[in-house]
Amino acid sequence: MQPVDSHLFLVVGAALFSIGLAVVLLKRHAIVVLMGIELMLNAVNINLVAFSQYDPDRLQGQMLSLFVMVVAAAESAIALAIVLQVYRHFRTAQLDELNELNY
């Protein structure tokens, strides 16, 4: 089987990163912004894995993307807990309506 040209992985990673950035910039719901961050982390993982297939002895790229996944899971758990508290306090999760420090 002929492997895929690795430039295509990098192009897909770039497109996914740009879409994630647009989601983060555009969306108003806090949880959708978190989803955009997950998309950007996935794009970075694609790049790391694409380069890591040329390094089958040490697999440094795959190890780094494994740790990126762990940190992303921890980050999303904490961020969702914070969103939940914000929702309890302000009764909304729309980022535009959270414009007061002290309620």
Binding site: L16, M35, S76, I78, L80
Partner: protein, 185 residues
């Protein structure tokens, strides 16, 4: 055959991501994110990273996405009944509508120019590494050895990080403790 699978998985990934960008319903966005994560797992398989593909499905689909859907359902606010006698019917909506157009323009400008810059960079770049031949082989053996030898310190730190995240998330998400004074008043 591999090329067809690659294009199918990248189409799945990018269409899911675009749908997350374009949909208005938050729950639909979560399900399109599921599509994207499966596509990324398929891309990992095609880049000969089988262990990472399984880890992607287990961590993201099994953990993060379930958490996200819980978050969406817990922060869902049902639409308020429309009050016809309201004196200022569409003030906030009209303000937001102006903001939405400018926001789309700015965000698409930033993200589109970033993509164009990255694409031209990748088209011009000539990676010596990417011309080397690659082989298909399982990475599970190597990852296990690496985790227990070279990366054992980051591995343990990741364990501590997950414990701290578990405790912190539980503490943050707990409902506020009502003291007896507040409860009686």
């Amino acid at each position: 055959m591999v090329q067809v699978a690659f294009y199918a998985f990248s189409a799945l990934t990018l269409v899911g991501a675009l749908a997350v960008l374009l949909t208005r319903n938050v729950l639909y966005a979560a399900f399109f994110l599921l599509l994207t994560l499966f596509g990324v797992a398929g891309l990992f398989v095609l880049a000969s990273a089988d262990f990472l593909a399984i880890a992607q499905i287990m961590i993201y689909v099994g953990g993060v996405l379930v958490l996200v859907i819980f978050g969406i359902m817990l922060t869902h606010k049902p639409d308020l009944p429309i009050d016809i006698n309201s004196q200022q019917p569409n003030r906030i909506a009209s303000q937001n509508r102006v903001g939405v157009g400018a926001g789309w323009v700015i965000a698409l400008l930033v993200a589109g120019s970033l993509f164009i810059a990255l694409y031209t960079l990748l088209a011009r770049a000539n990676f010596i590494l990417l011309s080397r031949p690659v082989g298909w082989q399982s990475t599970m053996n190597t990852i296990g050895k690496q985790l227990m030898t070279e990366y054992v310190v980051p591995f343990e730190i990741a364990g501590i990080l997950l414990l701290a995240a578990l405790v912190g998330a539980t503490y943050l998400a707990a409902p506020p403790i009502k003291s007896s004074r507040n409860a009686t008043s």
